[in-house]
């Protein structure tokens, strides 16, 4: 029904834009990762695998990558533990107030990411809200300094930020479960908990996978929360990239790390898509 020229008109502009501003930049990152920097801080355009060798040789890169993945994994698990029961509660037991509660989960998303991270800083700091509160009610006489500038603070903040992201797809998949399936399960004699394990949970797996992917991938690449709240022990892989692109001025090495991250993310997305397909019964 659509003519050839119509199809061309809707296809070519986005195709062109995506090529210039997404595909080409990724390719540049890829090429850069095989170049190097001269002592005079000029980019040397000759091919070398040195950057990748360095990533494997210098311990701090892999260590930081693993620490980042461990932080991201904790954020993912906590977001699911917070997000899933909430989504289940809203979808199945919230009744008429469902819409309102749903909006209440969304609203924090509209508050700036940076501002929320900053708010946690004001809460967790040694003379922050939490410590002064604890002292006020005489639970402690000295401020707890371990709260801020630690991986704990990073995990807490990222969990706060990504819980709604984990919640959204889970809620959507729960909402898509036909209610007569639940009734059929009850009718066939399964008590509520059985119905949950054997009907609802399996059918909501695609949402869980999507939510987990969101939380993991987005927190893996974060560099602002660590800078703001992480302290030396909370440094993540993106912080290294930022410093390589800034003060350390080694773009090729930074590009090599970025390209590895890009591959990691694409790989994870591929995996999560496979998982979702496997669990999609529609």
């Amino acid at each position: 029904m659509f003519s050839r020229s119509y199809r061309a008109a809707i296809t070519l502009p986005p195709l062109l834009w995506v090529t210039v501003f997404l595909l080409v930049p990724y390719a540049i990152v890829f090429f850069y990762s095989f170049w190097s920097v001269s002592p005079g801080q000029a980019i040397v355009h000759s091919w070398t695998l040195n950057n990748y060798c360095e990533l494997l040789r210098v311990g701090v890169y892999l260590q930081t990558l693993f620490r980042s993945m461990w932080i991201a994994a904790r954020v993912m698990i906590l977001s699911l533990l917070l997000g899933y029961p909430l989504a289940y509660h809203l979808s199945f037991h919230a009744g008429k107030r469902k819409e309102l509660f749903y909006q209440l989960v969304i609203i924090p998303l509209w508050v700036s990411y940076l501002v929320r991270a900053y708010a946690w800083k004001t809460i967790l700091g040694s003379d922050g809200v939490l410590n002064t509160l604890l002292q006020y009610v005489h639970l402690t006489s000295h401020p707890w300094n371990f709260l801020l500038y630690s991986p704990f603070a990073v995990v807490l903040t990222l969990t706060h930020i990504y819980t709604p992201f984990a919640f959204l797809p889970i809620y959507a998949s729960l909402e898509h479960i036909p209610r007569d399936l639940v009734e059929a399960s009850n009718d066939l004699g399964a008590p509520p908990l059985q119905t949950f394990w054997r009907v609802i949970l399996p059918l909501s797996i695609p949402g869980v996978v999507a939510g987990a992917t969101f939380a993991f991938v987005l927190s893996l690449g974060d560099f602002l929360a660590p800078l703001l709240l992480g302290g030396p022990s909370g440094i993540m892989i993106s912080n290294i990239v930022v410093s390589l692109f800034g003060a350390a001025y080694n773009w090729p090495l930074g590009a090599a790390i970025s390209f590895c991250m890009l591959l990691l993310v694409v790989g994870l997305l591929f995996l999560s898509e496979r998982l979702e397909r496997k669990w999609a019964f529609r």
Binding site: S3, I10, T11, P13, P14, F21, L22, P25, V29, Y32, L82, P85, L86, H89, L90, E99, Q103, L104, V105, I106, I107, P108, L109, W110, V111, S112, V115, Y118, A119, K121, T122, G125, V129, L133, H160, P164, F165, L168, Y171, E175, P191, L193, V209, A210, G211, T213, F214, V217, G221, F223, L224, V241, S258, M261, V265, V266, L268, L269, S272, E276
Partner: protein, 279 residues
């Protein structure tokens, strides 16, 4: 018995939900409360209710310049994302071309890709072609990253659009161009407004991409970032509170519009679903 255990379960769930909501709102409430706190950020209990920080904020030229910059960037990014994202959604819905699957993945990738990768890959592109960093580079960055939002929202809208609508228009003598403006776009109205609103707020808040593409002029998040590095000031609480209220107003307006149009509103679920299948 089952009613009893059901009640217990749902009570347990209620407590859990309450705790999650408390967790989600604690920082926001703290932020707002301490924007009125005379003794600055921190210190319990808050005391000396004051509007001083707001007064200070309104006299702060640098903040308002950055707000103006952010609004310019957000509006321009909105135009770019919609101008590219709407055709992209149409192409995904009804185009046939080689590499369509790759195209889909590429367009939607920035939705879930950490901003740092989008930011620095564009930085390298601009460096390569010799484009000086400025608000323009930020606009191009936001525009590119947020095409994914426009595409996902509009594509979801297209799935609900009855094909017969456009057929009827062609049948009645309107050509493709007329049909696009007079039937396709009005039918996608809600998706487009929703996408525009989302793009605007996301751009206003964006920092990871801007971080790499910033020139001399700061956007609001970068201005805040700069100040945070120097120390904590309740002025930031004040501007955040204002922006929060503004966003809240925008959501309520959008919610009303959507409820009026179709009796229900679920902001972002389509986006979440689209993003979930991005891989």
């Amino acid at each position: 018995m089952s009613a009893d255990s059901g009640w217990t379960r749902s009570r347990w769930l209620s407590w859990h939900s309450l705790a999650v909501f408390a967790f989600l709102y604690l920082p926001i409430v703290t932020l707002i409360v301490y924007s009125f706190n005379g003794t600055g950020v921190g210190g319990f209990p808050p005391r000396d209710l004051t509007l001083n920080w707001y007064r200070q904020l309104f006299a702060d030229g640098a903040i308002w310049t950055s707000v103006a910059n952010s609004i310019v960037v957000a509006l321009a990014a909105m135009v770019i994302s919609l101008a590219i994202g709407i055709p992209a959604a149409l192409a995904l819905d009804r185009g046939h071309f080689p590499g369509k699957a790759l195209f889909r993945r590429l367009v939607l990738l920035p939705l879930i890709l950490p901003g740092i990768i989008t930011g620095l890959s564009l930085l390298m592109l601009f460096r390569q072609v010799g484009l000086r960093l400025s608000l323009l580079t930020i606009i191009l960055g936001h525009g590119t990253a947020l095409i994914s939002v426009a595409t996902a929202e509009v594509f979801a809208g297209l799935q609900k659009l009855e094909r017969a609508q456009e057929e009827a228009s062609l049948d009645l003598g309107a050509n493709y161009w007329q049909t696009f403006w007079r039937v396709t776009i009005p039918n996608l109205r809600l998706s487009i407004i929703g996408a525009a609103l989302l793009i605007f707020t996301l751009s206003l808040d964006e920092i990871a991409v801007s971080f790499f593409l910033i020139g001399r002029d700061n956007t609001l998040p970068l201005e805040i970032w700069g100040r945070l590095r120097r120390g904590i000031t309740p002025e930031i609480n004040a501007i955040s509170t204002i922006i929060f209220l503004f966003s809240l107003f925008a959501i309520v307006a959008w919610y009303r519009l959507r409820v009026a149009a179709q009796g229900k509103a679920e902001i972002g679920t389509e986006l979440a679903e689209a993003a979930a299948t991005t891989g």
